[in-house]
Symmetry: C2
Subunit: 567 residues, 2 copies
């Protein structure tokens, strides 16, 4: 509903004239913690009453539970590699009807154009998408991103429909040290929701961060951290997506200490489409919470009303007159698997594809790398060479020093299990190329490359020979972005990501199929089960995760926040 619908909705509610009635439901009221057997009356996209209703268009719930649609408090749609429409198609059947999205990835590639493209791609979908504006573009000064968004750039979007506030303020160093542009952003969004992102921040530094304005946090990884942030007034978004550190311990702490849950919510941040299909989405977190002893109605409220409150949304997250008719129907109060999901008052048909708005041209053809030659991939070695060592099943890496093989000219030769890693600036054809060494990827006889490389999304390539690495770059360039696995001059697998080099416009099933093919091809090159080599590769260029990372500027030591060498 919008303000202009009041003149039809008020009479519909007053006169009891719904356009749809959901009959025989056990209706969950998140305000009173009650379950009542009733009908829910809907006019258009809005609930107009709970009680006794009938009309021509009735949906029989046959005694199933009816709850508000679930809300994901923090998610990056781009990380799913599909459009918002396709993302909707995957998560709606799991009961998530609203997401708070942070288009941080596309903004790092395409700046304000990227934001506009995401807003356009999100319009008119059955999924309710609200936006937090990315606060850290670029994420760090240690790499070259496609764009810079300063306070004034973000301010221009304040009145955009569905823009709520300022997205995760990852750069807590800038906050706590009062860096001028960060301060300017915080001032401009002073009266809006501001998302925090402050892993392990504690004590006075956390106090300073909270004074600065962030009011949510989705980075808690243990109960002690959760409790300190809750005490400080932050809404806690328990994250259970690709990352899910400490979730069980946090839930257990909440239960055992009887903490109030009304400022605790759920989010996924990033979650693989296949895992959403197999495990669920926000409902999976609800079910996990229930399994650890959170009362079902509390868990449902954490996934609905609490999140709406955290973001100041007053007409979603509950079943009451005036609330949007986003609803989920399910049989078992302890394991929520939606049978039917209503969005905007319409049962969602999971069998039909969700039509997507057109992709705007400004986010296509985003791969603008300068020509790369074998010379650009040369890496002169030192006696003890700093290299990146992967850690099984984790995204953190170790910084180690080794004697490494080299050729007659003193340049590194990938062998003895060591791979060459390259990060190639791809936004403004500056010719910046970072070259490094990685141990633990085990790529043999080929190369793997991607234009998804957090957070600046340059081209990242790992391989054991320069020819295949150069071929991978060319393959990605021709595809307009994506993921590829190549071997001996042949493309073994390719997922084209023509939207900013981050997202596909192909149907979900095609994307999933190509992702599986990529993984198979990577495995065929020797990568093992200790990691998803494609995900790991995407994170090797992110200079905020310990200990060593490669950017287009060189090899970076995250613990000292300085370059070990520049290339």
């Amino acid at each position: 509903m919008s303000a202009r619908d009041l003149s039809t909705l008020i009479p519909a509610a007053r006169d009891g004239k719904p356009t749809l009635v959901i009959k025989n439901a056990r209706v969950i009221n998140v305000f009173t913690n009650e379950i009542t057997e009733a009908s829910v009356a809907i006019a258009g996209d809005t609930i107009i009453g709970v009680g006794n209703y009938s009309c021509e268009n009735e949906f029989n719930a046959h005694g199933a539970y009816l709850a508000p649609g679930l809300i994901d408090g923090h998610v990056h749609i781009e990380s799913s590699m599909v459009t918002p429409a396709s993302f909707a198609q995957v998560i709606l059947p799991k009961g998530t009807t609203t997401i708070i999205a942070d288009p941080h990835e596309i903004a790092n590639v395409s700046g304000a154009d990227g934001l506009k493209a995401m807003f356009a791609l999100s319009r008119g979908l059955p999924l309710d998408i609200r936006f937090m504006l990315p606060s850290c573009v670029p994420s760090t000064p240690f790499e070259h991103s496609g764009a810079t968004l300063n306070a004034a750039d973000l301010g221009a979007f304040l009145d955009e429909p569905n823009v709520l506030g300022l997205g995760e303020v990852m750069d807590y160093v800038s906050v706590v040290s009062c860096a001028p542009d960060m301060l300017e952003k915080l001032k401009r969004f002073y009266d809006r929701p501001i998302d925090g992102h402050a892993p392990m921040l504690t004590g006075k530094a956390l106090n300073a961060y909270c004074v600065a304005g962030p009011r949510t946090d989705h980075e808690c990884s243990n109960f002690r951290e959760l409790k300190e942030k809750l005490r400080n007034g932050m809404y806690i978004l328990i994250r259970m997506g690709s990352a899910a550190n400490g979730v069980l311990e946090m839930l257990d702490g909440i239960v055992s200490e009887g903490l109030p849950t009304d400022r605790i919510c759920f989010c996924t941040d990033d979650k693989h489409l296949e895992n959403i299909r197999s495990e669920g989405h926000i409902n999976h977190i609800v079910n996990t919470a229930i399994s650890r002893g959170i009362r079902p109605l509390d868990a449902l409220r954490m996934a609905t009303l609490n999140t709406a409150n955290a973001f100041g949304l007053s007409r979603i997250g509950a079943i009451a007159p005036g609330y949007r008719a986003n609803l989920i129907l399910f049989n078992n109060l302890h394991t929520i698997e939606p049978k039917t999901v209503f969005t905007n008052g319409v049962p969602f048909d999971a069998t039909a594809p969700v039509p997507s708005p057109a992709v705007s041209d400004c986010v296509k053809n985003s791969v603008h790398a300068a020509p790369v030659t074998a010379d650009d991939l040369k890496l002169p070695v030192q006696d003890f060479m700093p290299i990146i060592e992967t850690v099984p099943h984790q995204l953190v890496t170790r910084l180690v020093y080794r004697v490494v093989p080299h050729d007659a000219s003193g340049c590194f030769v990938a062998s003895e299990g060591l791979n060459k890693l390259a990060v190639i600036e791809r936004h403004h054809a500056t010719g910046h190329v970072g070259v490094g060494i990685v141990d633990g990827m085990h790529v043999q006889g080929g190369a793997i490359g991607a234009t998804v490389a957090h957070d600046s999304h340059n081209i990242v390539i790992v391989g054991d020979n320069d020819a295949d690495m150069l071929f991978a770059v060319e393959t990605l360039r021709r595809a307009g972005g994506g993921f590829t696995v190549v071997s001996n001059g042949e493309v073994k697998a390719l997922l084209e990501l023509p939207i900013a080099g981050l997202m596909s416009d192909a149907p979900v099933e095609t994307v999933l199929e190509k992702q599986r093919a990529l993984l198979d091809a990577a495995r065929a090159l020797g990568t093992d089960d200790a990691c998803d080599p494609l995900v790991l590769l995407s994170f090797l260029a992110l200079p905020v995760i310990p200990e060593a990372r490669l950017t287009d500027c060189g090899l970076f030591d995250v613990s000292t926040m300085s370059f070990l060498y520049r290339t």
Copy 2:
């Protein structure tokens, strides 16, 4: 704090450099329901940390409890008859540090000028005053008020600092029937807080009202009503001021059913200054709630964080970094009597008067009544004359029909315990005069008059002889508004209310003294203990309280919403 203070507050929090430390307190955390022994660090007007702190300026709490300052969710300052500064002086010692004020009364007299005057009078006070813009000016079409505020008039104030949203939407008939100007107001404030006011509204009419936007209600008078409105998503403001219907029953219901309290708050609406002095203010409601079995920390949260949430205020109502340093210190967790109250980080000195900003000229000299003569007060009688009968200890009245005494010309003569009542239009000198008969006031040998006459605040006079009634009108006219008791052409008591005829600019003690003198003088005329004759008089012209009222247009039957006669 404001956005521009971030550059000093962030470093103060980071480096642990407070300007004031409250030591040895038992600090109440409304987010986690914890009490911890700690110090609270404050920089300027803002809390920057809870823990171990010291600085040159320390305040020893000696182990007392420290809670956030209390919030009154709905109040009309004008009804206290003093300026916002004087009102602050009376309520701050009771621990109320923020009020959500609805300047409905002054708006009915002076329109937009009245609003501006109230904003100006509220600036820079130690009391945090937020405003809801009066939605119903005039309140009804059955009387003449001083001004009309339509949707555009209100919209002009949307960006005024401290304006939150739309004040109590009393005219629920207009809402439910989609009256165009009301709809326009609701649309304009669609994304802002809107206060409800819907006594006894239930079922589909309540649903329609909720769809329209009001998200709070302070008119519940029984638990059943409270629960229905809570289910419908309204924040409930339990009112305990001059009116306090059903409070105990509602509190008992909440306790016995174990209802969640996080959407239940407190307000006073109107409360006499003397009663605030003797009983308390919001702390009195907190104490009452505790005495009925609400847990003390829940009751405190109802009076702080919950109210802040209801109005979307993110930096008040808690003790946490970034929150305003409005705090109360008290010894007994079950009977909250503040020993010290901090506002904006400063202990409030209850012994010194709070300086008031200047009163703007546009709200002075507001009494513009046409000349009134004995002829204007003539009331031709009928065989069975409809009259207003008061009900002991209540503001409701009965409509009864009587044979009444009259003179040779067939006009009513006040005698046999019946008084004459007159309402004289006083805003635009239109000459409208309503004349009626009231039984139960028992005024003998004089008249009582006021320019406070809800909601249009015309002149209302009750008396037993026309000469004194006319003299009372002239006394009020000369005083520029107020309350008066006159007898035999002599002023027995007078409280001048030069600000819009509603508020005094005199010191609180002077106002209280004159109020007592007025009551004494009214008692001397024969009014009895069954009512406060001054309060009752102020409500006899309000055509929304059953059953019979007199406006400047005539005698009004509230149950049929029609005039019994026009004069």
